[in-house]
Symmetry: C2
Subunit: 279 residues, 2 copies
């Protein structure tokens, strides 16, 4: 099996490394418009060679699009135009928009829209990790429109990565990730900006930062090139959740202003309900 990775970063690189190590693919071709990432991917042994897009597609059986989602959408029609029997899958964080693009293409059966639920706040080939996806969930959207052989192959990819597969409507996926991923990132970015604003007045502030601060602000290191397109594409869902989150914060604000300790306690006890979900 010959794999082409378009966008050799955290996700594309980690997939390539793991599939090669498992023996599921023998040869990995990298496509990336960043010369630094090309060099790093070759040096780290993540890819065997670098090719231009058209050539890479001709020489591969399986193609993963692992660019930021706005780039993925621009590339999808071009890629589907170029393929014959190859299978293409993407790994983007929103799914409705790319599924709509695929749906109007005659080769939509060769495209598997997926979203493996793993990532870190780091990016580029140097952030890639072997066995990163193990025991995490991955989503495959709108499977009824996918050719059986294409679906089976991508299911095998995720089995190799050690992930469990959830099948989900693209629209429902986008609502869910707004709640369990996108809002966490916005909160973290906004929290970093809140604290960095204060830092201008006081050098000493971060001497007191401990593990709790680090864990809530960690995602604020995440890459704008990846996240701006995600937020813009999932705008309506993200705005719904963001409005709800601001109104939840205002409840805390109101409790403090009115010194309503009972309601403040109720809000915290309710939030403790997250223990049911996070072990």
């Amino acid at each position: 099996m010959r794999l082409t990775v378009i966008g050799i970063g955290l996700i594309g690189g980690s997939i390539a490394m793991t599939l090669k190590q498992k023996g599921f693919v023998e040869h990995v071709i990298g496509v990336d418009n960043n010369p630094l990432h090309q060099d790093q991917a070759l040096q780290l042994g993540i890819v065997d060679e670098i090719m231009p897009l058209e050539e890479a597609i001709i020489h591969s059986d399986l193609i993963v699009i692992a660019t930021p989602i706005n780039i993925a959408e621009k590339l999808l029609s071009t890629i589907l135009n170029l393929i014959d029997k190859q299978v293409v899958f993407d790994v983007g964080s929103t799914k409705e928009s790319i599924v709509q693009i695929a749906n109007v293409h005659s080769k939509k059966g060769r495209f598997v829209p997926t979203h493996p639920m793993w990532g870190t706040e780091f990016s580029g080939p140097e952030a890639a990790q072997q066995d990163a996806f193990k025991e995490k969930a991955t989503v495959i959207c709108n499977k009824e429109q996918i050719d059986q052989d294409a679906l089976t192959l991508v299911e095998q990819v995720y089995e190799q990565l050690g992930m469990h597969i959830l099948y989900m409507d693209a629209m429902k996926h986008d609502i869910h990730v707004a709640y369990v991923s996108h809002i966490s990132h916005i909160t973290s970015f906004a929290l970093a900006n809140t604290v960095l604003e204060k830092e201008k007045e006081s050098d000493a502030i971060f001497e007191l930062a401990s593990g709790g601060f680090e864990s809530t602000v960690r995602l604020a290191k995440s890459n704008a090139a990846m996240w701006v397109p995600i937020f813009m594409q999932n705008k309506e869902n993200v705005l719904d959740v963001l409005n709800e989150h601001i109104s939840q914060l205002k409840k805390f604000k109101s409790c403090l202003e009115k010194e309503n300790v009972d309601y403040l306690s109720d809000l915290i006890v309710n939030a403790n309900g997250i223990k049911r979900i996070l072990k």
Copy 2:
């Protein structure tokens, strides 16, 4: 050295375990009004015996108050009334209010107001850990009012725990922790409530939760009995930061509504500045 721990939980328990293991104290007396915590602390070997407050103070050289801060403030005058040459320190998350209480007491020189910057979202004796504080920062407030022998003894305690000591005015401490600790907790509680609200409509939502979600929501498991008094006591500072945080979130909201991708990108790039602080 005989140590009394008032409030045998995450912090008090961890301090006792570490000081005993290091040989800094030979005997630990526990004071706790929760019979379950008394039993657990004895069974786990965190304390050697349980005593009522008055008796414990008479039999000890060093006393740590590790209750929620509202209880600590109620107890401080009683404890200072009972001591002779003993040294008392607290470990509460806000400092201005307890320092004010100490300041009007004739034995204020025996009391060292401190705040070790470590914790987890768990509580009770079973959450206590040995060597938990290593390489973290601890704060000692308003040291100029403390008797030299009392200050030296508590400095030795924190050296034994492997912490580096920052000396800080209590008022300044409370502003700083609002930024680097209290707001993280409010954000996390509010985020948990946002998502739990949605869960009522959809069972599947948490199947997609990944590491990023877990890290931003982890603190939402934290105990109301500890955090309500902290928020109420540090109300003015927390409200300042909370207002700033809400206004930062509204910037993201406005970018999404107006599809202002350039400003959205600027906000994220600015937030990435947190990399300077979190390695």
